[in-house]
């Protein structure tokens, strides 16, 4: 495609990505023993931070998770808990 610089405002030099992980004050942690692998958490995550990994298991990723807590509320087995970001619930 022809050189577009300064003709029309177009964005094609990479993806605009914000560090939304830095927003959260708490983060979801999954208890793998309680997980029944229903996939509801993956379906309800607004950020798509929960993936179906290579081992066919549901896994929470933390690069962009905003800590909204929907996954914890929706999990039918309460397998996900929200803990304070940065460590134990003691600060």
């Amino acid at each position: 495609m022809k050189n577009r610089a300064h003709i029309t405002p177009v964005g094609n030099e990479g993806m605009y990505i914000l560090d939304t992980a830095s927003w959260r004050t708490e983060k979801p942690v999954m208890d793998k023993d309680l997980c029944i692998e229903c996939g509801l958490c993956l379906s309800y995550c607004p950020v798509n931070a929960i993936i179906f990994n290579k081992n066919n298991k549901y896994q929470i990723t933390y690069d962009f998770c905003k800590g909204c807590g929907i996954c914890a509320v929706e999990c039918p087995r309460k397998a996900i808990t929200m803990i304070a970001e940065g460590g134990e619930n003691n600060e």
Partner: protein
Amino acid sequence: MSKIKAMTGNTTAAIAASLCRPDLIAAYPITPQSSVAEYLSELVHDGILDANLVTTESEHSVMSVIQGAACAGARTFTATSAQGLAFMYEPYFQMSTMRLPMVMALVTREMISPCTVWSGQQDAMSVRDAGWIQVFVENNQEIMDMIIQGYMIAEHDDVLIPVNVCYDGFYLSHLVEGVEIPTQKEVDAFLPPVHFNHAVLDPDDPIAVDSLTSGEVLMRYRKTHLEAMEKALDIIEEVDKKFSASFGRSYGGAIETYQCEDADIVLITVGGMTGTARDAVDIARANGIKVGLLKLRFVRPFPAKRIAKALSDKKGFAVVDRSVCFGWSTGPMYTEIRAALTNENCDFSHFSAIGGLGGADISLKHMLIVIEKLEKEKNQPGQKDTLWLTKEL
């Protein structure tokens, strides 16, 4: 073999557009432009013109549909007037600043209020700063020729700016003149197929078109737009010469001068009134007045240098405007001509003449009165009171 037919301006515009092989035409009726859309609809429905015709629910959507089509790489066409232009202003401004080429016939009409449907140029003048190229034509043949040239100018790689071909509502749109219609073959040989692709939405090459832009970056886009307008001045001259070589008709480029070389005073006109002015100049010349005519064809980009050169050695000039410049007590083209002359000698005698608003006539008598006043005051430098070309004059 091209043929000559007696046609209205609107029919001419429709035929010119169809010869340029548009991919998509969007249309909405408004006086005095409706028959452009009607004629194009007949061509499409009869299978003569292979174009997607979209009859939208408003002019705002006309320009929006066209913008979407242009963002898919299409050549597009539409026509509108006054209130329609005002309604589509939102996507209209965006069309030029997204640098999407197209040709739009602007059948100039007075803006409401007072309530009116008749001829004027206020609509075109009020969008001077929306970034489009604007050319005002004198007769129906020029409508035909400038729509064809318009695509070549708009789609030029160094321009990429949409073009308004402006012609007087009712005076040109509805009145019949002889027009030579080029053949499809001739137009195909002249106009290359559409090829712009700098802002195309295509899953094969995904981009964000019109991303949110910071001020610093936006200023760069405005600058390159202005630079393209500058370049367009040269390309307008080039295309006029090319067109003349192919079709035998030249219009002189951004301006046309008539009998200006040895003139003392110059009458400056925009659009259909030029025809009347030519006759007035001939009559005045026969009576010994050394008057010339400057036909301002392209209002955007404004051909300041050519105008300054044409008027530099004159004693006086008057600009006849078919619109008003609110806040200046003159017509708008008068203010711009004066701005173009700031570096020239300050001894000009000059005034603005306003007439023909809301469909009123600018008569031969009016033109002769302007010339008479110019001649009388040519040795008194400075601005004179604005002359209103009323019926009583």
